[in-house]
């Protein structure tokens, strides 16, 4: 490990990265869509699915940290210093929001009196009591944080595409499954 840095992310890291990406790509538009729906059984179902997706994102965070500690990411490819700084800041904020968006949703659910029962099977504890004011405050938090996450994901995606298409370097390939090159 100390002799040579890997050229790619570990397979476990790649798996968790893309799984989280997939979950966010479903949960975000679902969240935007569902909350304007008139009350219906379908709306209740969609809210539940959205919550389950979010809690899964939260659950994936712990193995993600463990994998990162056990198998550190490859060293960054050569690029201007500002890009390294921008990448590090974006990655740190992405991690933060991947934690805070589901957490705020969980708290908001409790405050609104609709606790989360993960996959309809596992009731999650309510960390705050039912409270209307707190509920709408957390709703605003959840929405603002989700928008923040959306912006960061867009930035992250744009940078990955830029590296792949314009710079034609291996930045994106390091996060794709494949052979070590």
């Amino acid at each position: 490990m100390n002799s040579q840095s890997p050229s790619r992310y570990a397979n476990s890291a790649i798996l968790i990265h893309w799984l989280t990406a997939l979950l966010i790509f479903v949960a975000f538009p679902l969240g935007k869509y569902m909350h304007d729906l008139p009350l219906s059984p379908q709306k209740l179902e969609l809210f539940s699915y959205h919550k389950w997706l979010g809690i899964t994102v939260l659950l994936l965070f712990l193995p993600r940290l463990l994998v990162r500690m056990a198998k550190p990411p490859p060293t960054a490819l050569p690029a201007p210093a500002w890009q390294h700084i921008a990448a590090n800041v974006t990655h740190a904020l992405l991690y933060l929001l991947i934690l805070l968006v589901p957490l705020s949703g969980w708290l908001m659910s409790s405050a609104k009196g609709v606790s989360v029962v993960y996959l309809g099977l596992i009731p999650l504890p309510d960390m705050v009591d039912k409270n209307k004011e707190l509920g709408s405050l957390l709703r605003n938090f959840h929405e603002a944080l989700s928008t923040g996450l959306f912006v960061l994901v867009a930035l992250h995606l744009a940078a990955a595409i830029k590296h792949h298409v314009i710079d034609k370097d291996g930045t994106l390939r390091r996060m794709l499954p494949g052979r070590n090159v």
Partner: protein, 194 residues
């Protein structure tokens, strides 16, 4: 075992002594509550009714002569959100414009032992009547008596939640109605104090 049964008899005697003094019939509505619980997508939810009228006559020494009538103002429902309150007032749920109240009228009350009782009666909601049995406890509390009980109904028996809402996967069919009624005795029927 014999000491336990003696204790039980003693308890009964004490209760009879307290009980013989009063027929509880003055409901303290501000101290009472009618609430409900149900499951939505597997999540336990609750709500309450803000307005209801309870008339009852209950003498713990003569439970068989007891009776109760309950009238719940369905528009006073509190589901936790205004969206939910508006929805359940609609035609598919309570249709509370056409059927403004839910009514319960007892037909019999029987003692189950200790402080436990059971009231049988007719529950009428949205033009449909169903026989209902609600076990409850009665506990004296100072000059008042407290009735606590619950009964589970199936909302579809009353067509509460029609159309797409008839899907019990989203909102469960079983709804538990809980009541907490505080009543005092009219001074005239209570044993005179000297």
């Amino acid at each position: 075992m014999s000491s336990l049964s003696r204790l039980f008899l003693l308890g009964l005697l004490c209760m009879a002594k307290v009980a013989s003094s009063a027929e509880f019939n003055q409901v303290q509505h501000e101290k009472s509550s009618v609430s409900f619980g149900y499951k939505q997508m597997g999540v336990a939810m609750d709500g309450k009714f803000r307005k209801f009228v309870v008339n009852l006559n209950f003498d713990p020494s003569k439970p068989a002569t007891a009776n109760a009538q309950v009238d719940i103002d369905l528009a006073s429902i509190d589901t936790g959100t205004s969206e939910g309150d508006d929805e359940v007032a609609g035609k598919q749920w309570f249709n509370s414009k056409a059927f403004p109240s839910a009514k319960f009228a007892s037909t019999s009350v029987k003692a189950l032992g200790a402080d436990r009782y059971e009231v049988t009666g007719k529950l009428s909601i949205k033009g449909k009547s169903v026989d209902a049995i609600a076990p409850f406890t009665f506990k004296p509390q100072g000059p008042a008596g407290v009735f606590d009980g619950a009964l589970t109904i199936k909302r579809l028996d009353f067509a509460i939640g029609e159309g797409p809402w008839a899907d019990v996967g989203a909102v469960a069919n079983e709804v538990q109605i809980k009541f907490h009624i505080v009543a005092t005795a009219l001074p005239t029927t209570a044993a005179p104090k000297k």
